[in-house]
């Protein structure tokens, strides 16, 4: 029965991807695609929820391409968790897209192409999570990379998009190269291409796999593609990429680093360090951003860091022989993966609504939208509260689990490890406090006070499908937070955290008690009058606090991290420099990773390419010669090594 549902779901997604391409000019094809994809996601969601809670594992089918090269699918606890997450988010995104595509510029063919690529993208992500061999993992991983590349390039006429797309294309293939190398070293150690525990012998595969999946997940310093690619793509695709595609890389990490290979203690330390640095730098860069989608992209880097911190805790604790804390860390990490998928896609979708209503991504041109787009504002706020890890919503619960694991690390034996963990804990706490500051900025400047531009003043609430998709996500953020204790209990894990249902109920009761007690004491009288502006009678948008102003104190404090260069030139009338004539000052942000890491690599690659270029394009004869020489060399090498 499970197999039929799985095949049905996959087939529906595939059909949703192919039909709009075949009938690209028809609106009906687009409608069919949405319906079919939604049905497929519902089936997969039901399947994975059932498989996850019944703790079942099942492998579906295996197709042999060559002897010992198979393509296969299987479902166990971990993959059903990720398939469930992908299909749940995809369902909401599909609902949103049914409205969003209509607003999207371009003809019917372009709209259908967007839908079709989106469905293929979803299909490939589900299949990566369901793969049971490394061959099929790589195959669908590549389909995922290519379809997402095409989606990033969707608005290819914009110059900025083209640049982002090419950058993404290069980086994503770099990731594939590392993953492929890791897979080959596992194969070398075990002689099998199946995804199965490989034992300690395959430890050499750790670094390539960590780097490969790390690039795709957006870990610092491999993160630069995220803030380029996410804002460039259409908003529904940003939601999918940030919400689930980088989680597929997390799936790869969890699957291969934690379960296929046998984790060693230093892996955990590396993961914790990488996670902490990513989390902190992600949020610090986000604070500086005024492009709403880029801001959210930087927050994805932050949250990937948090997920990695949880995995690091799992490895550290399990190699220290503390299974309870290890489980807490792993559960926190996986729960945060799910939570981030939900609230980040919620935020990207609602941000997309705002961008399409206002026509700009710059939050300095927004403002006052809470009155013009009340439902979108409410949904964005729920996402903001969740991502800022505020109780009783889901983001808080997963971070709470990680905090609890950290606070109980006092029983670890190694003093050095304990000090390292306290340092990570302090930076982790800083991260989540900065995230709250950043989302006060993001929500406050975007939605509150007076509109800062004409287009923000004329913004209108978006259509029903564009509210329904995010609403589902917002509801799941609330439910997963408030009933987290019960849900973990249902999955058979008595998680040592406070019961959020009680906390939520207490909050609601005290809210109502305060409200009615004051009403009972004296009836409320209300007057509406101008904001106080030091005597200036009418307030205008220029007098408001700006987003740059808001983040200025934090930026000043963390100046060494931003590495800004300030230049100022001043001219004076007199030679003593006392009467000022004119001058100019500029502040420039040093793109640290680009200048010191990416550019040297790119330059070296260019240099080598230039050296080789001389051998290229010399006609058929020389090509045949090269092929002959290469085969000869290969034979000699193989001969020498066997």
């Amino acid at each position: 029965m499970l197999a039929e549902i799985f095949y049905g779901g996959i087939a529906a997604l595939l059909a949703a991807g192919i039909v709009p391409l075949a009938f690209s000019g028809r609106k009906a094809a687009g409608t069919f695609s949405i319906a079919s994809a939604a049905a497929g996601c519902v089936a997969l969601l039901a399947l994975s929820v059932y498989a996850f809670f019944s703790n079942g594992s099942e492998s579906f089918a295996i197709y042999s391409i060559l002897p010992s090269v198979h393509i296969g699918a299987a479902i166990d606890g971990l993959s059903s968790f990720f398939i469930g997450m992908i299909s749940a988010v995809a369902l909401a995104v599909i609902a949103y897209s049914s409205g969003y595509v209509e607003h999207h510029e371009g003809g019917r063919r372009s709209k259908n192409a967007l839908l079709s690529l989106m469905c293929i993208f979803i299909f490939s992500m589900v299949m990566v999570a369901a793969s049971s061999t490394m061959v099929s993992f790589l195959l669908f991983w590549e389909i995922m990379a290519l379809s997402s590349f095409l989606l990033v390039m969707f608005e290819y006429r914009k110059k900025e998009t083209a640049k982002a797309g090419i950058f993404y294309f290069v980086i994503t293939h770099l990731s594939t190269v590392f993953v492929l190398y890791g897979f080959l070293s596992i194969y070398q150690a075990t002689g099998s291409l199946d995804i199965a525990p490989a034992g300690a012998a395959a430890g050499a595969a750790f670094l390539p796999l960590f780097i490969g999946f790390g690039i795709k997940a957006g870990i610092v310093p491999f993160h630069k593609w995220l803030p380029y690619a996410h804002p460039a793509s259409p908003s529904n695709i940003s939601a999918l990429m940030s919400g689930v595609m980088i989680k597929v890389a997390i799936y790869g990490m969890a699957r291969f680093l934690l379960f296929v290979l046998r984790p060693e203690a230093w892996w955990g330390v590396l993961m914790l360090a990488a996670g902490t640095v990513s989390a902190l730098l992600g949020v610090i860069y986000a604070l500086k951003e005024h492009d709403i989608k880029r801001l959210l992209a930087y927050h994805s880097i932050e949250n990937i860091g948090i997920i990695l911190i949880g995995m690091g805790l799992y490895v550290v604790f399990s190699s220290a022989g503390m299974p309870e804390l290890a489980l807490l860390g792993l559960a926190g990490s996986m729960f945060h993966t799910l939570n981030h998928a939900l609230f980040k896609s919620l935020l990207f979708l609602t941000a997309g609504s705002v961008v399409s209503a206002v026509g700009t991504r710059n939050i300095e041109d927004m403002g006052g939208l809470v009155k013009r787009m009340p439902y979108t504002a409410m949904l964005f706020l729920i996402g903001a509260v969740s991502i800022s890890a505020l109780p009783p919503f889901n983001g808080f619960v997963s971070e709470l689990m990680l905090f609890q694991a950290f606070l109980q690390s006092g029983t670890l034996a190694s003093p050095a490890l304990k000090i390292f963990l306290v340092a990570c804990l302090a930076l982790f706490a800083l991260t989540s406090a900065l995230a709250a500051a950043c989302f006060v900025k993001a929500f406050g400047i975007t939605f509150l006070a007076v509109p800062r531009s004409e287009s923000a003043k004329n913004a209108r609430e978006v259509s029903l499908p564009m509210l329904a998709g995010p609403a589902v996500l917002a509801a799941s953020c609330m439910i997963l937070g408030i009933f987290s204790f019960q849900i973990f209990g249902f999955a058979g894990y008595a998680v040592p955290i406070p019961d959020m249902a009680i906390i939520g109920m207490l909050l609601a009761v005290s809210y109502a008690a305060a409200f009615y007690a004051l009403r009972f004491w004296s009836p409320e009288s209300v007057r509406v009058s101008e904001t106080w502006g030091c005597g200036i009678p009418s307030q205008n948008a220029k007098m408001e606090y700006t987003a740059s102003g808001f983040s200025e104190p934090i930026i000043t404090i963390f100046k060494p991290i931003y590495r800004t260069n300030k230049h100022s030139e001043r001219l004076f009338f007199d030679k003593y420099g006392s009467i000022f004539k004119e001058g100019k000052a500029e502040i420039e942000l040093v793109k640290f990773f680009e200048e010191y890491l990416y550019m040297p690599v790119a330059k070296a690659a260019n240099y080598i390419a230039a050296c080789i270029a001389g051998f290229q394009n010399r006609g058929l004869n020389s090509s045949v010669l090269y092929a002959f020489a290469a085969s000869l060399l290969l034979l000699l090498v193989v001969r020498a090594f066997t």
Binding site: V370, S388, A389, L390, P391, L400, F403, Q404, F406, L407, K418, I419, V422, L425, A429, L430, A436, A437, F439, V440, K441, G444, I445, L448, A449, V450, F485, I497, P498, D499, I502, L506, L507, S510, Y511, A513, A514, L518, W521, E524, S525, V526, R527, V528, S529, E530, T531, W532, Q539, M543, E544, Y545, G549, F550, S551, E552, P553, I554, T556, I557
Partner: protein, 305 residues
């Protein structure tokens, strides 16, 4: 919920609500004495709140429902937080209550909505206050967490109820008291971080955020601020001066003892505020570094002890 817990909850919350305005007034009184003034009568805090509740609430036409809900969110967050910090007696931990992280993030929830309300009216003052408040709270956060990490390493628990039950804290934890005091000053917006007395734009952080609040909303905001102060004071008092904290039998004695110790701490806070000058905003990190040093020192001592 069990009957015992209900009784504890009602008593604890009622005590915190009733005592908090008094503590606020005492600090004002001490500062007035230090300046050679007479200061307000001891019940002034209560009169102010009662007066504000009866006054009309003025809303800016720019403001939205955020402005209208933020005060209630703040007070309800503080009421729930008051359950997590035992003051009159220590109950059995139930439903995982007493998690120190939950306590910190409840405060953060209140702050989040307060900062949004600061931005809501579109006034530059409110925005400035929100921005500074979020900055200060962000950089004090790692220090707070290290303080609690040190305590949970030393006392073997991350639950406030169990921490208080294990008090008095051992002498090696004394540096933590210094760090907790700085956290108390920072979180309650007092000199040298902020000045609760002025509405001058150069000094104000918390007051700037409150500028557009009026009537009962202002009363709620002030009450929640006072409750927050009492709860943070309780950490210092119950960890380092726990004597007199009795079981269910001596609730009244316990409450009176806390009141006396609270008044003492308020005098210290008032004297401290009167003796230092307001720091420039960008000089604050050095104050925080002092607190961080104290807490990191304790952690290192705990780890190598």
């Amino acid at each position: 919920m069990t009957g015992d817990f209900m009784i504890y909850a009602a008593l604890n919350v009622a005590f915190v609500l009733l005592a908090s305005p008094l503590f606020m007034t005492i600090i004002k009184k001490v500062k007035a004495w230090a300046q050679g003034r007479k200061g307000p009568p001891l019940l002034q805090g209560y009169y102010n709140l009662a007066k504000l509740v009866k006054k009309e609430t003025v809303y800016s036409p720019n403001s939205s429902w955020i402005m209208r809900t933020a005060p209630y969110v703040n007070i309800s967050v503080m009421l729930v937080a008051a359950l997590l910090v035992p003051i009159v007696m220590i109950p059995e931990p139930a439903y995982g209550m007493g998690s120190v992280i939950l306590f910190l993030y409840l405060l953060a929830l209140g702050r989040f909505f307060m900062a949004l309300a600061g931005l809501d009216a579109g006034s530059a003052f409110g925005g400035m206050g929100s921005s500074r408040e979020m900055t200060i709270s962000a950089i004090i956060e790692p220090i707070t967490i290290v303080v609690f990490a040190a305590m949970s390493f030393a006392l073997g628990t991350a639950n406030i109820y169990e921490m208080f039950a294990a008090a008095p804290a051992m002498p090696s934890l004394l540096p933590i008291a210094g760090a907790l005091f700085i956290i108390l000053i920072v979180e309650t917006s007092r000199v040298p971080v902020d000045n609760p007395e002025t509405h001058l734009e150069l000094t104000m952080v918390h007051e700037a955020m409150m500028l557009e609040q009026s009537g009962r909303n202002l009363a709620l905001m002030e009450a929640s601020h006072a409750v927050k102060q009492t709860l943070l004071m309780a950490f210092l008092i119950n960890l380092f001066l726990p004597w007199g904290m009795a079981g269910p039998a001596g609730i009244i004695f316990g409450a009176l003892a806390f009141l006396a110790k609270g008044v003492l701490l308020c005098v210290v806070i008032g004297a401290f505020e009167s003796s230092v000058a307001k720091l420039r905003l960008f000089r604050l990190p050095s104050l925080f570094m002092a607190a961080f040093f104290l807490s990191a020192l304790t952690v290192v001592m705990e780890i190598f002890a």
